[in-house]
């Protein structure tokens, strides 16, 4: 009996295929090259990511599904993948000196980074829970290894192991949820699940399906480090090599949000009354943890971990509102977030090259020795705190506006309050840099690539803070076909 093949349109997968080929190529080159030439493989990886970005730009606007609906290419997927490519390219660029200093610049570092990116891209394009789960596993597994990459450092090992054990449990939750949904809906395709969930008219679609929704959301919340599934984040952010922390704080968050978008809008679309309150709870819990726990931190990487939990909380407010404006505001927030965050990490990596530690107190007096660096750091801190006219304000403004328009005034007010609390610990960094005496000389070279990343991030934060029109249009064009 002949078995029908599904339609296969490899054009739709071109960026993924390119990233895969570059990853495989770098892997082979790693095996055949000396250790001294391996850092150059980073350039190959970056070129591959940039080329994939070019293909994505050409693909923008294309809408097609392939592999019988397992893989979806639409403007939303393209937009999310573009953000992921940026969130991979910038960390690779800025970690050049750091990797060389810590002797981490071996080929496998770049291979694993590319595989993590590939997993994230597949998540953004998934049209089926199976593709979603496998993309998630590919991304997570690569990042577990990256977190432990500095294997002579016990803290890095601890970070990798913690992330792995807790991440496996989250994957278990997610899989259990998917299997319950499969049991209730009779299929894993998003369209089939949406149909099954819609049958009950939006309410009471069976306990199995409802439990499945909760478990899937819990698994996803773990991946984006939303409270109360955030326990791993501070330790892993602190222990992992700083270049990996920068990558981890950007790319997987975009991928996680892309997956949440897909799941909420397609299969769980008919169950908004079910997931709305869950997301509201996650948002408020993340805001509280992000703002309150960060105050007590003395390590800047730990502080940024809590800060990223808080940022996830703001983004979740937009999702919880469940309106078109809300979904658009999250995309705007994420685009701004990666530039604020990566700019900050680029500066941390630069300061780290001077042999300075990761404690907030190590930044004392930076303004007196390196005024420009301190000024730029202050810009990013103000942006994260959401102070106008920087881009961070625009992101928060749209999220709160979406919540207010959806009638969730309480949620918006909570967000504003925690935003004020959060400003305290961002400004504390500024206070240390400007109003205390320097203990070290901060003698370091700022590499060309790091300068490039810092310049791009600063420009993005300043430009979008003043003229966000282009960003808003882009977000709207990306999100509309999905609704």
């Amino acid at each position: 009996m002949p078995v029908p093949m599904p339609d296969i349109n490899l054009i739709a997968l071109l960026p993924e295929i390119l990233i895969l080929l570059v990853a495989m190529g770098v892997l082979l080159l790693t095996a055949w090259s000396r250790e001294t030439t391996q850092p150059l493989l980073g350039l190959v990886a970056m070129a591959g990511v940039a080329l994939a970005g070019g293909i994505l730009l050409i693909q923008t606007g294309m809408t097609t599904t392939t592999f019988g609906g397992l893989f979806v290419l639409d403007p939303f997927a393209s937009a999310m993948k573009l953000l992921m490519l940026v969130a991979t390219l910038l960390p690779l660029l800025m970690s050049w000196d750091y990797l060389a200093r810590h002797r981490l610049d071996i080929g496998e570092y770049f291979v694993l980074t590319l595989f993590a990116l590939l997993g994230g891209m597949l998540m953004a394009s998934s049209g089926d829970f199976i593709t979603l789960y496998l993309g998630l596993e590919l991304m997570s597994l690569s990042i577990y290894v990256l977190a432990a990459f500095n294997r002579d450092d016990p803290k890095s090992n601890e970070a990798g192991l913690k992330y792995f054990v807790l991440g496996s449990m989250a994957s278990g939750l997610l899989l259990y949820g998917i299997s319950l949904i499969y049991g209730g809906a009779g299929g894993t395709g998003f369209a089939a699940v949406a149909q099954a969930m819609g049958e009950g008219g939006g309410h009471a679609p069976g306990i199995g399906l409802r439990l499945g929704v909760v478990l899937v959301l819990a698994g996803m919340a773990f991946k984006i480090a939303a409270a109360p599934f955030h326990m791993w984040a501070p330790d892993v952010y602190q222990g992992a090599p700083t270049s990996v922390t920068a990558f981890m704080a950007a790319m997987p968050k975009i991928a996680g949000f892309a997956a949440i978008y897909r799941v909420l809008l397609e299969p769980f679309g008919p169950m908004q009354s079910q997931w709305g309150p869950i997301l509201q709870f996650l948002a408020v819990a993340s805001l509280a943890v992000g703002a309150l726990a960060a105050i007590a931190q003395t390590n800047i990487k730990r502080m940024l971990a809590y800060s990223s939990i808080g940022h996830v909380g703001y983004a979740l407010i937009g999702l919880a509102s469940g309106t078109e404006l809300g979904f658009r505001s999250v995309l705007i927030y994420l685009a701004i977030y990666i530039f604020m965050n990566l700019g900050t990490f680029a500066l941390i990596l630069v300061v780290n090259n001077a042999g300075v530690g990761d404690e907030i107190n190590d930044y004392r007096g930076l303004a007196k020795k390196r005024p420009l660096l301190a000024f730029l750091m202050a810009i990013f801190m103000f942006a994260m705190a959401g102070i106008p006219p920087l881009a961070g304000f625009i992101g928060k403004f749209y999220v709160f506006m979406a919540a207010v328009k959806a009638g969730m005034i309480g949620l918006a007010v909570t967000g504003v309050l925690f935003s004020a609390v959060g400003a305290y610990y961002y400004l504390r960094v500024v206070q240390r840099m400007y109003f205390e005496e320097a203990e070290t000389a901060f003698r370091m070279e700022v590499g060309l690539l790091s300068r490039l990343v810092i310049a791009v991030s600063t420009l993005a934060v300043l430009y979008w803070g003043l003229l966000p029109g282009g960003l808003i249009d882009w977000a709207e064009a990306s999100i509309r076909p999905l609704l």
């Binding site: 078995v3 093949m5 895969l20 199976i130």
Partner: protein, 198 residues
Amino acid sequence: MIPVADIVFYLLAAVLVIAALRVVTTRNPVHSALFLVLTFFTAAGLFVLLRAEFLAAILVMVYMGAVAVLFLFVVMMLDVDFAELRRGALSHLPVGLAVGGVILVELIIVALAQHSAGPVTEPAVAVPNTLAIGRVLYTTYLLPFEIASLVLLVAMIGAIVLTLRKRPDVRKQVISHQLARTRDQAVELKKVASGEGA
């Protein structure tokens, strides 16, 4: 008529839950691994009840045959006092016998249930399930199949990156070096005057 399928299902399910609980509650890691074997086997029995013989066979071969044995290896390589372990070898016997006995009983029950009651559940598909899985695995689910292969590749790369170390202080056997040695390099003749050798 006695609902054979239901009785067998609840029996297997009860054993499965108890064995899974014992995996995490027992103190001895070796016992823990043995209960894990029992858990896998009972789950395989449930698959047979569902007429998914292929999955059952895979579960037995991969999880019991490979994964559980690997666990046992790891458990034994961990910081376990070997003298203690050997001294208590007889104390493992009851647990081992119990696990083996339960597996044997389950085998008989499942076999009897199939013979006495015919198909205990309706077959999920008309074709043999190995064929059914094969058909969709390389067609409908081609993309996930390929991604799964990448997940395995990353696992392999990760394991190598995190554990392979070049250690300069270790003397490796290089056979070509050994073969290339000449008599002059390897043998040194010393004249020792008679009576002065130590």
